[in-house]
Subunit: 136 residues, 2 copies
């Protein structure tokens, strides 16, 4: 891993991530937010930084059926997002970090019945959260 320099663009991006922890956002969201603050930032810089953060495991990258762009999600509390499963509300997009123990029984059955082994870090279960159920 290359050493890392602290630069203004990078700080702006990190700042955005911290302000938007546990929600989904796209590269464009970051660009717009930074622009609204009066700062400038180039697309390629955003993409390169997001890419790096993903490689370092600090960020999750995924795609949603209804969204053209890649979505990202950052979480300060969860260092090991590659090791547990996530659930996402298909209405509001909120993300939940699921404890692997929940799937103990399911994992066993998936292995015996289908011969497959869960890849927890890459799995996202779609769901509807409490708030969104109440709203409807």
């Amino acid at each position: 891993m290359k050493s890392e320099y602290k630069t203004k663009p990078r700080n702006l991006i990190i700042e955005y991530l911290k302000d938007n922890a546990d929600t989904r956002f796209t590269a464009r969201d970051i660009l717009n937010a930074v622009k609204d603050k009066g700062d400038g930032l180039d697309r390629s810089t955003v993409y390169r930084n997001l890419e790096r953060l993903c490689t370092e495991g600090k960020l999750i990258k995924y795609k949603e059926a209804d969204v053209n762009a890649s979505c990202y999600q950052y979480s300060e509390e969860h260092e090991s997002c590659r090791e547990h499963m996530h659930a996402q509300c298909s209405v509001c997009g909120k993300i939940f970090h699921l404890d692997n123990s929940i799937f103990k029984s399911a994992a066993k059955k998936m292995m015996t019945e289908y011969g497959i082994e869960i890849d927890y870090g890459k799995s996202v279960i779609m769901c509807v959260c409490e708030e969104c159920r109440e709203d409807s």
Copy 2:
């Protein structure tokens, strides 16, 4: 729903779907496959047909983190792919249709611990299948 015409391009696409049931593919995969067979087919025709098949519920459309293009999946046997969960091998892309009963315990815990309700039809659990585990 408009009435449906049987055309050569549409047949080529359907043929591809049947030859590639239960695997993921992109619009480009279809274009390439058809081109390799010596036939011609336009991008827009492929997209329009895939769109229609999705609307009719005969095809599932989804996106993967590592793949830029939309992925599709067709299954002859499973009419109700919107009602059960799927698992996909992150190595070879093979898709498995999971019986919802497997998640009985997990679903209960997700509800009590996180207040979330699984959306089976939209969920895809990433996994590694038996063959791919043996290969590595």
